[in-house]
């Protein structure tokens, strides 16, 4: 079970790092803020932050381990915040409410991340025994779940809108499908976060609780596949999506 979980999460980590680095590399010269936010989100949180935080417990030297944990936690907070700001910037660019919600989400991530790091500095790997650290971890997972739920909602909404556009000859079926996959990935992540948050809230250890490990592993492997289809879709897949609409890509 542990090996399976490690393989699934490892694949997701590698895919996230690859996709994130690719987006950041392309966003920098073009100054594409949406790509930069999305790329940094994938690169910083699942690509680097989680492996650093998890790997820190396996390091012999406590100083290096602590530095790795704090660096990992910082990257997780920054990366997850970028998910919020990506949603606000891309899906609700003129909504003050959305920008405010993204800022509140980022503050909650920062506060809970600080408490988790503070507990880790004091007690090391046993920090989860502190009620404040457990509450902060549940808060972080819950807020992250909200970020992914927002992602899923916007993805499904835009997929529906794109399907309507197709009826007018506007809209690209490949982009419409990309919104759908994005929404499905967000929905699955909500499920994984909810299972982990419930495990933590019930006093369990989400890294040992079978339900939490299974949910995280399965979502990790499925979302790795979705990352491929969203960000580096094989030509054959795009052709399959376009099978009924030759020339639709040039419609808009």
């Amino acid at each position: 079970m542990f090996a399976f979980a490690l393989a699934c999460v490892g694949i997701y980590t590698l895919m996230s790092a690859f996709v994130g680095a690719r987006l950041v590399r392309r966003a920098l010269p073009a100054r594409g803020m949406p790509e930069l936010l999305m790329g940094f989100a994938y690169l910083a949180a699942p690509g680097l932050g989680y492996p650093l935080a998890v790997g820190s417990t396996r390091v012999q030297d406590p100083t290096i381990g602590l530095a790795m944990f704090v660096a990992g936690q910082t990257l997780i907070v920054l990366g997850c915040s970028c998910f919020f700001f990506f949603n606000a910037r891309v899906f609700r660019p003129k909504s003050v409410l959305a920008q405010g919600a993204a800022a509140i989400g980022a503050v909650l991530f920062a506060l809970s991340g600080t408490e988790i790091a503070r507990g880790h500095i004091a007690l090391g790997a046993d920090a989860l025994g502190l009620a404040s650290v457990r509450a902060a971890s549940v808060t972080m997972l819950s807020v992250l779940g909200l970020a992914y739920a927002w992602t899923a909602y916007e993805g499904f909404r835009h997929h529906r809108m794109m399907r309507r556009r197709e009826g007018l000859g506007l809209g690209d079926p490949v982009v419409a499908n990309r919104f759908l996959l994005w929404a499905v990935a967000g929905s699955l992540q909500v499920v994984a976060d909810a299972v982990s948050a419930y495990s933590l809230h019930s006093g369990g250890d989400m890294t040992a609780d079978p339900a939490s490990v299974l949910a995280t592993s399965l979502v990790g492997i499925v979302n790795s596949g979705l990352l491929v289809l969203i960000f580096i879709p094989p030509a054959r897949y795009a052709r399959w999506l376009m099978r009924d609409r030759p020339g639709a890509l040039a419609a808009v």
Partner: protein
């Protein structure tokens, strides 16, 4: 919420038509955009041109005293005269380029 430049321009032209006011024009256009799956805040002139051609006439039929054909022709002229908007940052555009 404010609409895109093209949306606001068409709203202005539509509101100036006989039997229309600002809110009726806005509401009528919003309904057509909903049918088309478009968002007022990001809709482009090219997309609006298709809406004006394909969907708006049906919405305008319900407004008595409006010469639908003449009005739609005027709206298309308004759209054609708009300068091209700089840098499309709509969600569709972002999701269209993230995989390139």
């Amino acid at each position: 919420m404010a609409g895109s430049g093209a949306f606001e321009a068409i709203c202005g032209a539509l509101a100036a038509a006989e039997g229309m006011d600002r809110w009726t024009a806005r509401g009528t256009l919003q309904l057509s955009l909903m049918d088309a799956g478009l968002d007022a805040s990001t809709v482009t002139a090219a997309q609006l041109a298709i809406v004006v051609e394909r969907l708006l006439p049906r919405q305008l039929q319900s407004h008595g005293g409006v010469n639908v054909d003449a009005l739609c022709l005027r709206l298309r002229d308004t759209l054609a005269s708009l300068p091209e908007a700089a840098g499309d940052e709509s969600a569709e555009s972002v999701f269209g380029r993230i995989a390139r």
